[in-house]
């Protein structure tokens, strides 16, 4: 039982990270109907931005409090990554809006390759380790929960709430939902659709940056190809939860995280990805729109 709870905690931590990245996939899909395959690499860029900030801080401001360092890493990573994603949308996706559906998809795959290669060339191909930032652990019976796990879950929850609030309660969120439903009509009501889409990309990237920072903190390494496997898993999470649905993305992320850690704990760690994708396939067979996805209503 304790072993199970332990794995549950690990799964939730991992799932939070996937969930944050999955939101970026799902929002962009919702608003422009395109799968941004470069989003996984945006997540990787977020991790690298945090790493660089960390190195600068420890080199020039040695002895800085850990909490402040973490906060700065998060904020700067969010800003940098938001800028990256804004630029990508502006130069690579916007000119293709309105062309056939596959064009932006292929471009996104291209952007993904460009980003990971850019980091490989400029930062080197080796894994970049960082010393553990947060080392406290708590013991409850035989269960060990580390402070960083708690931090990850807490930060994720706060961000999800903030995000939910923005999308559901603010004029910006209303404009995003209106743009999602009928882009042209939103424009005719005075909503600057291009700007709304740009903001969506920036928001998605900011969440990915937080996920990237936490991934770096959790595993202690960053690598140029970190965007691929976690990116695909987060995409899977978005599809599993129902692409286009925000709660679905979080639910999907948590499920994938749990499946992965429970499978690794009770069966073979080598087959954890097989288990994840097998469950995705099964869910999609019985519920093609994902767990919380709405069936696409035909527009008349």
């Amino acid at each position: 039982m304790e072993y199970f709870i332990q794995q549950l905690a690990n799964g939730l931590t991992l799932g939070s990270i996937y969930g944050l990245v999955a939101i970026g996939y799902t929002m962009v899909y919702g608003i422009i109907g395109m799968i941004n395959f470069a989003h996984g690499d945006i997540f990787m860029l977020g991790g690298f931005a945090a790493l660089i900030v960390f190195l600068i801080l420890t080199t020039f401001f040695a002895g800085i409090p850990v909490a402040l360092a973490l906060l700065l890493m998060l904020i700067i990573a969010m800003l940098m990554t938001g800028l990256w994603n804004w630029t990508i949308e502006r130069i690579a996706y916007r000119p293709l809006r309105g062309s056939f559906r596959l064009a932006p998809l292929i471009t996104a795959i291209g952007m993904s390759i460009v980003l990971s290669n850019f980091i490989q060339v400029t930062q080197g191909p080796r894994n970049k380790p960082i010393p553990p930032l947060v080392t406290d652990v708590y013991h409850i019976g035989n269960i060990t929960i580390s402070l960083k796990q708690i931090l990850i879950v807490v930060i994720t929850s706060i961000l999800l709430f903030a995000f939910w609030y923005i999308v559901n309660k603010t004029p910006l969120g209303r404009a995003q939902r209106a743009t999602e439903q009928d882009r042209k009509m939103a424009a005719l009501l005075g909503v600057d659709v291009d700007r709304t889409i740009s903001i969506t990309f920036i928001m998605g990237a900011a969440l990915a940056a937080v996920a990237g920072t936490m991934y770096l903190m959790y595993y202690g390494v960053a690598s140029f190809n970190d965007g691929f496997i976690p990116g695909v898993k987060a995409f899977t999470a978005a599809v599993l939860g129902g692409i286009g649905s925000l709660p679905g993305a979080v639910l999907g992320g948590l499920l994938i995280g749990l499946i992965e850690s429970l499978w690794s704990a009770y069966f073979s760690i080598a087959y954890k990805d097989v288990a994840t994708f097998a469950i995705l396939a099964i869910v999609l067979i019985f519920k093609p729109t994902g767990i919380l996805g709405r069936p696409e209503v035909e527009k008349v």
């Binding site: 609030y165 603010t170 004029p171 009509m185 424009a187 005719l188 600057d192 659709v193």
Partner: protein
Amino acid sequence: MATGTTTMTNDTILKVEHLSMKFGGLMAINDCSFEAKRGEITALIGPNGAGKTTVFNCITGFYKPTMGMLTLKRSNGKEFLLERLRDFEINKVAGVSRTFQNIRLFSGLTVLENLLVAQHNVLMKASGFTVLGLLGLPAYKTAAREAIEKAQYWLEKADLIDRADDPAGDLSYGAQRRLEIARAMCTGPELLCLDEPAAGLNPKESLTLNTLLRGIRDEGTSLLLIEHDMSVVMEISDHVVVLEYGQKISDGTPDHVKNDPKVIAAYLGVEDEEVEEIEEQLDHATVEGGTV
């Protein structure tokens, strides 16, 4: 809003000059010119396929016209060339709003949210592009309350106040039409373009609509409407423009247009020869209707 001085009421709000729209080889609108006056209801009528909706699409930025000028003059005297504005600026800057023949509500949003999206620019500015709004600044709270009050005002006018929190897609057809008009009005337009607002309405709903439209005009918004229902057109419009095959064939008061033989010919769909006959009788030099 009080109605302006006599010179203002007789002012032109929209001037369409030599508008042409070509789709491949098809001339959907051919050198069409007309004016809409401030504070009036101008109706655009004509048989199916006459190009009425195309004119609307040019005015509201859906299409870039092949040729011609669309000048909009706001009450503060500023003039805008609609064909040069970006899609969202037609509403935001020029103050033109429209509805569609086939209803285009945000069906997943609630009725109230539909009206709030229409006030996006005001709210966005007041909320300091969301950042200040998240901090709960009083200026934003005031703006948000005003936006809801404005929405309430139009909900009452459109008789939808009880449905404010229902998804827009759940409303009946007639109610959706009224909501579309209310939403267009929430953007605070100076010119409201309505594409067949009475289509599919029963006589009672049609009557409510007439009252709503007259109310809008009396509050100072000019209207341009496409309509098939002659009872609506003749009853509420101050000025009628008739199109056929992309060209203007008549222009004037409802009574003038009603008795224009060209209009009668176009509507009754008489043979080409008969049109020619009538035209000869009228001593017109050119033949416009009937032949392409």
